[in-house]
């Protein structure tokens, strides 16, 4: 099985450790990983701002980079969802469809494809899980609190395999953090207020780390934590799952 590793542009530049952890974790699990060097961006920033019609070049590049792999895995629920929902190509629609079906966010790849049941990881801290909305309501990584349906959570399932990790329970388990792409700039006041309230929920319930499968949410919450001189840290879930015993 060969996996193409997709590292979203901002993760590549700002959170390389999460990408390294993703790569190492997959390799630990005996997966053949290839990182195509010419990759850039999924096109989501344009599309969510109403400029989906300008994303074709981006889409074509993505197809060129990733069509060849059995699976595509990325440590970002949001970018994966964007590809799943919006990657099209008038010239190679079949290939585009193939990509939309074989791209996975890291957590779901681990639980659904690799069916990981054991990890050699230890993380002796209290951890709060932030469900990114795209991961939750888009990729269905966990049950959504609005629905009358049986609960489950793929991130929790994996974190429960980590030694000495204590999960904290939040008052509002799946509320949006307010990042929202360009929303974080265009609606600065609401975005920050939403972020503050999410962070407060984690602090109130004793989290030392906030983790998520989306670094965009974490970057936003980290920005608020830093500004308020909090000791609580954010960490991508790959880094916890890849932490050594």
């Amino acid at each position: 099985m060969t996996v193409g590793l997709f590292v979203p542009c901002y993760v590549n530049q700002l959170y390389p450790s999460a990408a390294i952890a993703t790569l190492e974790l997959l390799q630990q699990l005996n997966v053949d990983v290839v990182y195509p060097l010419k990759q850039t961006c999924c096109g989501q920033p344009m599309a969510n701002s109403g400029f989906e019609h300008l994303t074709q070049k981006c889409n074509d590049l993505f197809i060129q980079n990733f069509a060849q792999f059995d699976y595509i895995v990325a440590p970002s629920a949001s970018c994966v969802l964007h590809i799943k929902d919006h990657l099209h190509s008038p010239e190679q629609e079949e290939t585009a469809t193939g990509i939309r079906n074989k791209i996975y966010e890291l957590v779901e790849f681990l639980t659904d494809v690799l069916k990981v049941e054991k990890l050699n990881a230890r993380f002796p801290h209290k951890v709060g899980v932030h469900h990114s909305c795209h991961g939750l309501r888009g990729l269905y990584l966990a049950q959504m609190s609005e629905l009358n349906a049986a609960p489950f959570s793929k991130p929790h399932q994996l974190l429960n395999l980590v030694q000495d990790l204590e999960l904290v329970t939040l008052d509002r388990g799946d509320e949006c953090c307010g990042f929202g792409g360009t929303f974080c700039i265009a609606e600065e006041a609401v975005s920050v207020k939403m972020g503050k309230d999410r962070v407060t929920d984690h602090l109130k319930n004793g989290a030392e780390y906030i983790t998520s499968s989306d670094l965009s949410c974490l970057m936003h919450m980290e920005g608020i934590l830093h500004r308020n001189k909090s000791n609580v840290k954010v960490v991508h879930i790959a880094e916890i799952l890849n932490s050594r015993i």
Partner: protein, 464 residues
Amino acid sequence: MMQPATKDHAALSEIFIKDEERVNWHDGSLWWIRQKRDKVAKQIPEWESLREVASGIKSNVISNLHEYLLQFEANAKKNGITVHWAADAEEHNAIVYSILKAKEINQLVKSKSMLTEECHLNEYLQERGIDVINSDLGEYIQQLAKEPPSHIVLPCIHKRKEEIGELFHEHLGSQKGESDPTTLTRIARKHLRNVFMTRRGALTGVNFAVAETGEFVVCTNEGNADMGAHLSEVHIASMGLEKIIPQKKHLGVFLRLLARSATGQPITIYSSHFKKPRPGQEMHIVLVDCGRTRQLGREDFRNSLKCIKCGACMNTCPVYRKSGGHSYHNTIAGPIGAILAPNLDMKRHADLPFASTLCGSCSNVCPVKINIHEQLYKWRQVVVKEGYAANTKALGMKAIAWTLSSPGSYITAGKAGRWVLANIPLAINNKLNPWYKQRDMPDSPKESFSEWFVKNKKNGKKEG
């Protein structure tokens, strides 16, 4: 009527958020209602299929609206109701006015009608010498405050009891400093009772109109619609075209969903059926289009007409909870308002589809399963294509500059870094950057993942 909004959603929210204590309280009240909704929804095992059925019935309705409306009209007429058709707000208001004028009625008691808010009926009638009183407690309060409702089900949810006490003191002569909800309600009740007893004309909204029988149903908790209608000589019901349901039995589906979604009650206290005028009374129905058929013609947005106005999407929306209903500068606020408003006036409401993180919670609570967040995304594409994006301050140059930069295929790993730093607005570390106002930037790592990767050549499986 449709003047351009002076401030957009982002700017109005910023003002609302300044009083953080109030925002927390507002957010908490609405979240509490969302929790009540969750609780009752989860008590019904078939909840999700009930939503599915409701959505299906509404799909049928909007696909066959023409037939159902004509069927409803015929049956309503048989029942002795006078049926009117209004293409827009102006026509609606003129019809209501002419009905009242013919009976020489110059005082109207109104209840449960967001549609008449949408049509600005109160102002219209007042200019023509007809006095209007909103009899729902929340709307009554909003009328005293000379403000539009901030929520379709909870019109004064943004007001604290002390502020309401102050309003009552000023307008109804209650004691200064009185803020006990029960006492205030009693005071309002006394005033409204007098209104009910003396008004000869009553106007209500319509929650459901049954094509099969020509009757309509009004759901309230206060019984004020009944009180107004039963004591009046003329009962006018204003309804949007989309309120039709095919058969009476379908009410069983919608009444179970409506109150549970709205407030977490199993059912509204009153679900009143109006079928024919009582002897000596006149009953009128005004069927109002007001942009609805235009929305029906927009394939991507047609489903918004399924809305039963429960307000659940507002209660769950974190943006709504933190920014308040008035920040949407539209009669209907929140996620549903943001997908309805651009149809009415795209330029004026170009900012609303962007007043969302697209988190999707709205679509999950919606009892008729409107794909609200997907429609928000689609409206963004339309607004931009129609050239209105630049009109919204919220989408100023900072965001646009980012969104317009198309990363060409020439970007190699080394250059990508420069592209990101030059194009992500939050990467610019200065005071003018909205990211930086209340948030720090992540510490910049010594090398990008690509650089690390090239150095370490890690392709393949685990080494060794």
